[in-house]
């Protein structure tokens, strides 16, 4: 009797497994992706929706519950008109707040400049590494070393370089007329320090991704181009660039998303008061002043800005010949 029951149970268990085995590869792939998507929905989309809901409530700094009454889009209006009750503004269209004290512009300027510089330098490094020369392996290691350094250590290196107590770089930069006497207290100087620190570290990331793209290009194409008399510039323009554009855009997309979320590097060098990025604003509003609803609104706006940029990249990728969409 029990043997019969076991057999029935076994066949009951076997049924979905048998069904699974008869699905197409595509259906099986989607089935396997299902749990991951569900997890993503729980850990990413749910918090995002919840953040948006919180952002529609008032700040309640006098009560144990940090969220007050429903006030609709007031926080968004305040954030976009320069009236937010935060130490730094998200956006001030009247420009009474200096540009580099407005989180949106600080972050966009940082993202655009750092990604452009990192791409240019990374591309140059990748082109060199793509050549055959003696000691190439060691050069690769040397280029990748900055990328292996943790953010806080990276930030400390630059902080100490410009620190008034032990730094040596301020004097030099001052002597060539670039910085004032207190670069870590001055918004423009600090912005440049953070930018250079990021470029120094992350160009290696771009170099490696671009190098991978370069090495996937069939060398015979260059041989053919040489035979037909193409100049090095023509070979770069008509072979390298079109074939590398896909991986290049993906690498830039990753870097842009990272750059738009910049926080740790700023916090450990100049501080959020001097260089207020969008994430800085979220952390300050959340930790320092308990304006959790305002913090939620800044966080949601940050997600919106990043999404817009991602969409632009995806359009670029679709249009590129080796697009992934």
């Amino acid at each position: 009797m029990s043997t019969d029951t076991d057999r029935t149970n076994a066949s009951l268990l076997a049924r979905p497994l048998n069904w699974l085995e008869t699905r197409s590869d595509a259906a099986f792939a989607y089935l396997l992706l299902g749990p991951a998507f569900l997890l993503l929905a729980v850990v990413a989309f749910y918090p995002l929706i919840q953040t948006f809901r919180f952002s529609l409530r008032a700040d309640a700094i006098l009560s144990a519950d940090p969220f007050g009454a429903f006030i609709g889009f007031d926080h968004y209006v305040d954030l976009l008109t320069g009236d937010a009750l935060l130490p730094q503004q998200f956006l001030d269209p009247s420009f009474q707040t200096p540009v580099l004290q407005q989180a949106l512009f600080v972050t966009l300027a940082f993202a655009i400049l750092s990604v452009l510089l990192e791409t240019a330098i990374g591309f140059g490094q990748a082109l060199i590494l793509d050549q055959d020369f003696y000691g190439r392996r060691w050069v690769r290691v040397a280029i990748i070393i900055p990328y292996a350094i943790p953010i806080v250590i990276q930030a400390m290196i630059f902080y100490l370089m410009f620190s008034t107590r032990v730094g040596f770089a301020t004097e030099f930069m001052q002597s060539i007329g670039v910085f004032g006497s207190n670069p870590l207290s001055t918004t423009t100087d600090s912005f440049l320090i953070v930018l250079v620190a990021d470029v120094w570290k992350t160009s290696a990331f771009m170099a490696l991704l671009i190098l991978a793209g370069l090495q996937s290009i069939d060398r015979q194409l260059y041989d053919v181009a040489k035979v037909t008399g193409a100049s090095p510039w023509q070979r770069f323009k008509y072979i390298t660039l079109p074939l590398i554009s896909g991986p290049l855009l993906v690498a830039m997309l990753f870097r842009t998303m990272d750059a738009m979320r910049i926080y740790g590097l700023i916090d450990a060098t100049a501080g959020c008061q001097t260089v207020p990025s969008m994430t800085c604003l979220v952390v300050t509003a959340f930790n320092e002043s308990r304006r959790w609803a305002s913090a939620s609104a800044v966080a949601f706006l940050t997600a919106v800005v990043i999404s817009v940029i991602v969409v632009l990249y995806l359009v670029g990728l679709r249009d590129s010949e080796s697009g992934m969409t």
Binding site: S63, A64, P87, S163, N182, S185, E288, S289
Partner: protein, 481 residues
């Protein structure tokens, strides 16, 4: 198709059936592994500084000697060292409704926001009248104010120890320069900023090998608004919110008084200290005694040059005293402290509480978690802390001065380490403190004050423009509540 690409079926050694089973089992195992933990014991737990944990045996023994029942066991655990992180830790604990720890050690700079949010136990309702009377009559009044509800006046925290800065200086250098600190009684008689800066400039001038006549903290951070700027402004007769009775509110119904002459003069004096009297927006009557390095300095940055023998005067909290004794590049006898200087006397100041030598009041309180399972025991533990012998034990074992000025003055100098050399100065500082203007809106106002003052120190804005901007921003925040 790439020539390396082949059917997945032919290379895979794992069937779908096996894959699903294995992945499922691994998931269940990992989920179960994540469960468990927790636990605890029956003692009253206090989250405090590491030195309290290190001195747990002595402190707990003193509590029992002070009358705490032997049935009540006390465990001290170390909280985050950094004040802001400690606050975030307590915010999470209270928001999550956790019952552990039973007692929090809270910074007097951020206790009131917890009180007005009704997130702590009201000690006025729980403690014995005897203890409440002791606190209201004998404890440092300014410390008690930062542990009380600004409207009802009810006590929500028991001051554990107060903290107030002093001026550390190199006695050997000033004596070599022809001054007589002991004869002129520098230890207990505050001098004016005028005389102080002239001495600092003179001594600095006579010692070419020393980089700074004076080091202090002028970075744009919480310490600038709560403390260094606040006390210097107060010593000039200026104030954030008029009379000091307004320091704790009422929010939105008190004057904003930052855009006034004494506050402008404070900034001008600091600019003279950094850039000399001829610089833009500097005060012509004060000499240069330091440089703009201080604009990036917090406590430790400013202490290091002094400890290394590279500064004549240095403003800092008493924690620096044992460090200077132990690590200072000078003999112990060559080092001393004095009260902070002032610009106008209390009589000359426009606001009650302002003027005269002023020392920003820091310090920490003990408060009770309303979600505690042992509230009654926790109250008894707090009552035992309100005891002279416990205060002296803490002074001796941990180095934190008693919250009762009389206990401080009567402490045995031989038992309290290096601070014992300067109890007279500490007593003067304790009597001349200026509390932080802590209200529920202060966490929003503090970074704004720091930013505008720092802008003016840097010279990015004139003192009047910076203070006018600050006035507007403070008013806007006041009206938002």
């Amino acid at each position: 198709m790439n020539r390396y690409q082949v059917s997945s079926e032919s290379v895979s050694g794992v069937s779908r059936r096996r894959f699903v089973k294995t992945a499922g089992a691994a998931g269940v195992a990992l989920t179960l592994a994540g469960c468990g933990g927790g636990g605890g014991d029956d003692s009253v737990t206090i989250t405090a500084d590491q030195p309290y944990k290190d001195a747990q045996d002595e402190v707990v023994s003193a509590l029992h000697d002070a009358g705490l029942s032997d049935d009540i066991d006390v465990t001290i655990q170390a909280g985050d060292f950094e004040s802001g992180s400690r606050r975030e830790q307590f915010v999470s604990t209270l928001d999550a409704g956790r019952s552990d720890p039973d007692i929090f050690m809270m910074d007097s700079g951020w206790t009131i926001p917890f009180i007005v949010r009704d997130q702590l136990v009201n000690l006025s309702e729980e403690m014995s009248q005897e203890t409440l009377d002791y606190v209201s009559n004998d404890y440092l009044d300014a410390a008690v104010q930062t542990a009380s509800h600004p409207d009802s006046g009810d006590l929500y925290g028991l001051p554990l120890f107060p903290d107030y800065p002093v001026m550390h200086y190199r006695k050997d250098l000033v004596e070599e320069a022809g001054y007589d600190p002991e004869g002129e009684n520098w230890a207990t008689e505050p001098m004016t900023w005028q005389r102080f800066s002239e001495i600092a400039a003179d001594v600095w001038d006579q010692n070419d090998n020393i980089d700074y006549g004076f080091t202090t903290q002028a970075d744009s951070y919480v310490g600038l608004s709560c403390c260094t700027f606040s006390e210097t402004m107060t010593s000039w007769g200026g104030a954030y919110f008029g009379d000091h009775e307004n320091l704790f509110g009422p929010i939105g119904d008190r004057p904003i008084t930052v855009n006034e002459q004494p506050v402008h003069d404070t900034i001008r004096m600091m600019r003279s200290f950094m850039n000399g009297p001829d610089a833009n927006n500097a005060h012509p009557d004060y000499p240069q005694i330091t440089n703009t390095d201080i604009l990036e300095w917090t406590e430790e940055d400013a202490r290091a040059p002094f400890t290394n023998g590279n500064a004549v005067f240095h403003r800092n909290w008493p924690y620096a005293i044992p460090i200077n004794f132990n690590d200072g590049e000078f003999d112990d006898a060559d080092y001393s402290v004095m009260p902070l200087p002032y610009a106008v006397s209390e009589d000359e100041a426009s606001y009650e509480g302002a003027g005269g030598s002023s020392h920003a009041l820091g310090g920490w309180h003990l408060t009770i978690n309303p979600n505690s399972d042992r509230t009654d025991d926790a109250v008894k533990v707090l009552e035992s802390f309100a005891n002279e012998n416990v205060m002296n034990t803490i002074f001796e074992e941990v180095g934190n001065p008693p919250p009762v000025p009389e206990v401080l003055e009567n402490a045995n100098p031989d038992n309290v380490g290096p601070i014992g050399n300067f109890l007279d100065t500490m007593a003067v500082a304790a009597r001349n403190t200026v509390p932080r203007p802590v209200t529920a809106i202060w966490p929003d106002q503090s970074p704004v004050v720091a930013e505008e003052v720092h802008n003016a120190y840097l010279g990015d804005k004139s003192p009047s423009t910076a203070m006018s901007d600050l006035e507007g921003r403070l008013e806007e925040l006041e009206q938002s509540v």
